[in-house]
Symmetry: C2
Subunit: 217 residues, 2 copies
DNA sequence: ATGTTAGTCTAACAATCATTAGACTGTTAT
DNA sequence: ATAACAGTCTAATGATTGTTAGACTAACAT
């Protein structure tokens, strides 16, 4: 009888290792970033506004749970998610959180007060429109993230370059901007800028993780 | 710039509340139990081999994350999972853990050394066989869990009653026993007993949560 | 060789969490 | 009324974490 207790405790303890990896806000943010593509420690530290030391410590936890893998390249250490299941898990825990926690839904609604928020629509029809060139799907993340993975028929134009590259965008097409996902504000800022310039722009609050597109390499 | 940092921190913090609920082995075990159907605090405490006080404290955490709900019934407090999404999450985190953690896979293989472990097979064909009565799908969990939710065409025969009710089982049919899921040992014990009695019995290491069947009420 | 960059490791402190004990609150039974 | 039951709440403990600082290492540049 106590035998099976020991076995059980062992099993649940292992599953809890994944929970432990997911119980810190910063670690979740790191996972989301890594879903966009591989990154070095200080890229991750800068994006999450924490010290490299702290980033390193959090990444160690994620590695202990085998959710991320590393590779040394020159003097950099490159982190990436272990596989697509990790990205799926990030989407799953986020969607459970949004389902259960009113506070989170409220905060997201606050964000959506900005003009140009897009109602989540059918992905297939968006892809068709993008394929025919009837809308421009604009990826405003840094270029290396676009290279690692992007939505079908998307064009890369990182937020920092947007202002100076406006001439490349046709003024008569609807522009659908997206970034890292619903918690990332780059697409929102891009839409603000585009609308001020007279473009018909909307934000798609999804990214490659939500579309189930895994980064290459 | 710092404005969006604050917003982001808030969002990830909310998601981390779900992670925190899932970072303790005992809380995961409680979630799994509640996936079988509603239960009182001391039922949960007994099943998980912890004190009622500790169970109460863990359940408070789960309630803070809105993963469970309570209802007072007489002098008992009844806990149940908030909705089916919670059960889906339990299956998701477990499957990520099994994918990523060799230690967990090894422990599960140890368990499967027992005779009568069934290879995970097509659910539809199992249901068809059960419907035609060509196999007996046997639910060996306590009766109230069977009532809350069970696999299609399953028969209830709780493990404790199994020995005394053997006469009810046809000796010429294959018996597929299941319980609360892969981490529960009741079906394994049932299969051991049935095989000793000469039955052709196998264990299906799945339960209602894995089949996406939510408990009623 | 020396310094710089990019990162890890260890130790330490503070903060949080798990667990238990003890007092407390309703509810039912007598 | 009183006792028993089922559970919560508070406070206290020890154990784990989060976070930072300082020493360290490996790769590259000069």
């Amino acid at each position: 009888m106590n035998e099976s207790r020991r076995i059980k405790d062992l099993l649940y303890e292992q599953v809890a290792r994944i929970g432990k990896a997911a119980c810190s806000p910063k670690r979740l943010e790191l996972i989301e970033l890594l879903c966009q593509g591989e990154k070095t420690v200080d890229m991750l530290a800068r994006e999450t506004s924490i010290s490299m030391k702290l980033a390193s410590a959090h990444l160690r936890e994620l590695r202990a749970a085998r959710l991320v893998e590393t590779e040394k390249q020159g003097k950099n250490v490159i982190y990436r998610i272990a596989n697509r299941g990790v990205a799926d898990f990030w989407v799953a825990i986020r969607s459970l959180a949004e389902d259960r926690l009113v506070e989170l839904r409220l905060a997201l609604e606050q964000m959506a007060i900005h003009p140009g928020e897009m109602a989540p629509q059918d992905r297939n029809s968006l892809v068709k429109l993008a394929k025919k060139g009837e809308v421009i799907v604009l990826d405003v993340r840094p270029a290396n993230e676009f290279e690692a993975a992007h939505l079908p028929f998307a064009r890369s134009m990182p937020l920092e370059e947007l202002k100076s590259r406006l001439a490349e965008l046709p003024a008569d097409k609807t522009i659908v901007a997206y970034c890292r996902g619903p918690y990332c504000l780059m697409a929102r800022d891009a839409v603000d800028l585009l609308r001020k310039q007279g473009y018909d722009a909307v934000r798609l609050p999804e990214g490659v993780a939500e579309w189930g597109i895994a980064p290459v390499r």
